[in-house]
């Protein structure tokens, strides 16, 4: 795929899982952040093509970080990845063509489907996607 991704989650396990699925699909992970504050800083520095963003995090939560990223770049592609499978999360991105949401736990299929949708990629763009 060749797209550059920033992974944001306070859990190293969650970041490792997302990284594994994305790298297998040919995406480049350009940075990892462990809270919302780091996410905003790294987004500004790295200008990634896509951000995967956890919601429940210390310091600044994911929704606050999402809104801040939106202010800085209204066209940034952001996928909220959270165990809070609730209406208010879905509504945050419901009318946002550059926003997505997948609940934890997720499979590589779930994640890559959301990634492809946001980045307008075909399945043929990656060669080693696991279901």
């Amino acid at each position: 795929m060749g797209q550059r991704v920033l992974i944001v989650d306070d859990s190293r396990l969650a970041r490792a899982t997302v990284r594994k699925y994305l790298v297998q699909a040919g995406l480049e992970v350009v940075g990892e952040a462990g809270n919302g504050r780091e996410a905003i800083d790294m987004f500004t520095q790295l200008s990634p093509d896509l951000v995967t963003l956890d919601v429940t995090m210390p310091e600044i939560d994911g929704l606050t970080a999402f809104r801040e990223i939106r202010k800085r770049d209204p066209s940034a592609a952001v996928i909220l990845v959270t165990s809070l499978d609730q209406k208010f999360i879905a509504e945050e991105v419901a009318h946002d063509p550059r926003g997505g949401f997948i609940p934890k736990p997720f499979s590589s299929f779930d994640l890559l489907k959301a990634v492809r949708q946001l980045l307008n990629l075909d399945e043929s763009d990656d060669s080693s996607v696991e279901g």
Partner: protein, 207 residues
Amino acid sequence: MTSWNLEMDDDQLDSLKEVGNVGAGHAASELATLIGRKCVVSVPELTCTDAAGIGEFMKGPDTMVVALHMSVLGDIPANMLVLTRRSHAQLMLNYMSPTSAPQAEQNEEAFKLALRQLGEVLTRSFADAISHFLGTNAPYAFTEAINGGKGGIVAGVFPASEPQPGPYMAVHADFFDEEKTIQGKLVYLLSSRSQALILERIEQLLG
């Protein structure tokens, strides 16, 4: 609360927290659906504790508390607890059924039955999410609603007549609605054997 040497590295502690995060997030989401309000959870914490220490999870004065308790069997045996003030438990039921919720002061038995049903839904949601995450089998043994002070909760969850293996690793997160009209704690209690099983499973998943 007694402390023990955790004997786990940072990655292992992080993994247990994430497992708790997945379970607590789903339980809070189930509660949100039931009460029609947004519910969130805090970042999970880990505490190594004995049975007596469970009562200390409810901070503040020793007021009446409700513990919704479920034992999970299967691949990774565990205890799950939803701890909340009795007044908050009543409010949850009122939000669920504004006109027909059983009121504790009028019908204690109906109140306890409704809480037991609520506890079953929340703890099952917690257990199912973890089971799905880890790819494990998690049949439920039973669910109960225990009313009492802190000591009463401990005695209810761990009857004196039964052996109390310990220490436990408690993975716990606070839950609350947007206005904090209801608050409580979700607790996932693991024996050392169950902790090891989870960590083994995670290693397998990460390949």
